[in-house]
């Protein structure tokens, strides 16, 4: 029996090792001076500020619009709703660069909607708004899928008795569904946040690459990579630290909210 347990542990350890080694190498192969000079790179701080700002806005949009959608999806059956659920997953399957092209074709100057917006004098390409749009496009499906699962795990009897008391659909959503699904919703938000933080291909294509306006951390890393591997390495470490802290923070708050219930 112990041999079997060890074997199982080893198989898991193999994967963990493979995932951890590149990240560890990222940190281990840089000296302190490399890191210091890399972090002083002029690309870093504007990119960090931009990434944090845009991903927070993206998260707000995705959670606000995505939670009611996920709730509806979790409650409905039928072919239409199943098809809708699958359609929402499409941005996950499309390569990010293609997603960028699609966004251009929709909202670019000559795009389907862009032409209409252009008439009103609005144009989103090359703006920070475009960065948020790209981030929402790629991260929303992650949130919706995880949130829908979280809502599906709620005991349907709790929802039913709430309705028998006379609770309106809005009351059921805000006072029953969301609090009960909160841990799952938090995890879904964390996943969407991480995806938005790492978004590169669609942003580059649709929003462009201008420091301070559209150059997020991943774009800054890639730009630095063209010239100086060490700088790119330092900025990558910054991104990993930021992402890790965010995920850690979400897990910690999740744990405490789980303990309350």
């Amino acid at each position: 029996m112990t041999a079997q347990r060890v074997a199982l542990a080893l198989i898991g350890a193999l994967l963990v090792l493979f995932l951890a080694l590149p990240i560890v190498s990222l940190f281990a192969s840089a000296s302190a001076t490399d890191v210091a000079s890399g972090l002083r790179h002029p690309l870093v701080w504007p990119a960090l500020r931009l990434s944090l700002t845009t991903t927070l806005i993206t998260l707000a949009i995705v959670v606000t619009l995505g939670t009611p959608l996920s709730w509806t999806l979790s409650r409905r059956q039928g072919r239409f709703w199943q098809a809708l659920e699958s359609a929402i997953q499409l941005p996950v399957v499309i390569p990010p660069a293609v997603a960028g092209v699609a966004l251009l074709l929709a909202f670019g100057r000559r795009g389907l909607f862009g032409a209409v917006l252009g008439g009103a004098g609005w144009s989103v390409t090359f703006t920070t708004t475009a960065v948020v749009m790209a981030e929402v496009f790629v991260s929303a499906p992650f949130f919706v899928q995880a949130a829908t699962s979280a809502f599906r795990r709620i005991d349907p009897q709790l929802v039913l008795v709430s309705r028998t008391f006379g609770a309106s659909p809005l009351r059921v959503f805000f006072r029953v569904a969301v609090p009960l699904a909160a841990p799952g919703l938090g995890a879904a938000a964390a996943m969407a946040w991480a995806r938005a933080l790492g978004e590169f291909g669609a942003t580059l294509m649709f929003a462009g690459n201008l420091p301070g306006t559209t150059q997020t951390l991943p774009l800054a890393i890639y730009t630095a990579l063209e010239a100086d591997l060490r700088a790119a390495q330092a900025i990558s470490m910054a991104l990993v630290v930021v992402a890790f802290s965010l995920l850690w923070f979400v897990r910690v708050t999740l744990k405490s909210s789980l303990e309350v219930s």
Binding site: R109, F126, G208, N209, L210, L225
Partner: protein, 257 residues
């Protein structure tokens, strides 16, 4: 054999096949800047015809990317770069042999159709509302900045500043610059002449020779290549009249030999 064992056997087989390919003979691996795609692919067909049994494998990518790959030990036989800087670094690191310039590529100004009336030459560039250029970290971006600096003598000391005020994106790839202008997202951009071939939906404007910075493309054999003879043959083909004609067709300028 259980399903799981069969799956692992298949994986092992694929790995073995994949690894063994590295030692395949008659395979010449050429790392080349992406602007050389059309020209080199055409030359490659000629090469394979005159060298039966040899298969050419191209890796077209940004020069910086290729440079990083070669620095970290990627397997290649020949490296064709879009600028001297990356090549010089590899020479210093001993990763490549003596380079030879095989082509020259001129930056040109591209203007979208709807801005063709406003922008008729380099002087008019600051009048564009949205300009896209390469990032300073990529060769075309560096050349663009040099051109803007040199333009000061003709168009005023603040020319570069006035242009930079209109720059909305610094792309990591010259093809991206071209695409943005073609899509009408930007009104003007600076790309290589070779990129503009067949782009009939754009207006191509010359940059005055006195101001222009011409990119010189060097070619070198990677040290430790198992096919030094073939690599040399490729270099000869590129430098030959046929090779230079092929490059000219793709928009490059010939080198004086």
């Amino acid at each position: 054999m259980s399903a799981c064992c069969r799956l692992w056997a298949l994986v092992a087989l694929l790995i073995a096949v994949g690894c063994s390919r590295d030692k395949a003979d008659g395979r010449l691996v050429i790392f080349a800047a992406s602007s050389l795609r059309e020209a080199f692919t055409a030359l490659g067909t000629d090469f394979e015809r005159t060298h039966p049994g040899v298969r050419l494998v191209f890796n077209f990518a940004g020069t910086g990317e290729l440079h990083t790959q070669l620095t970290h030990g990627a397997t290649a036989d020949v490296f064709a770069s879009a600028d001297q800087r990356h090549m010089d670094e590899l020479v210093r690191a001993g990763r490549v042999g003596e380079p030879v310039v095989f082509a020259r590529n001129e930056p040109v100004l591209v203007v979208s159709q709807d801005a063709a009336g406003t922008i008729r030459g380099l002087t008019d560039l600051p009048r564009a509302s949205r300009i896209v250029v390469g990032a300073p970290e990529v060769p075309i971006g560096r050349y663009t900045l040099q051109i803007l600096d040199r333009a000061a003598s003709h168009h005023g000391g603040d020319f570069r500043a006035r242009v930079e005020a209109k720059i909305v994106s610094r792309e990591l790839n010259v093809r991206q610059v071209l695409t943005k202008v073609r899509l009408g997202e930007a009104q003007a951009g600076v790309v290589y002449r070779s990129d503009t071939l067949g782009a009939s939906d754009l207006r191509v404007l010359e940059i005055p020779a006195a101001i222009n910075v011409v990119a010189e493309y060097p070619l070198a054999t990677v040290t430790g290549t198992p096919h030094p003879g073939l690599a040399h043959d490729w270099t000869l083909l590129v430098l030959s009249e046929a090779g230079q004609r092929g490059l000219a067709r793709a928009g490059f300028s010939a080198v004086q030999r």
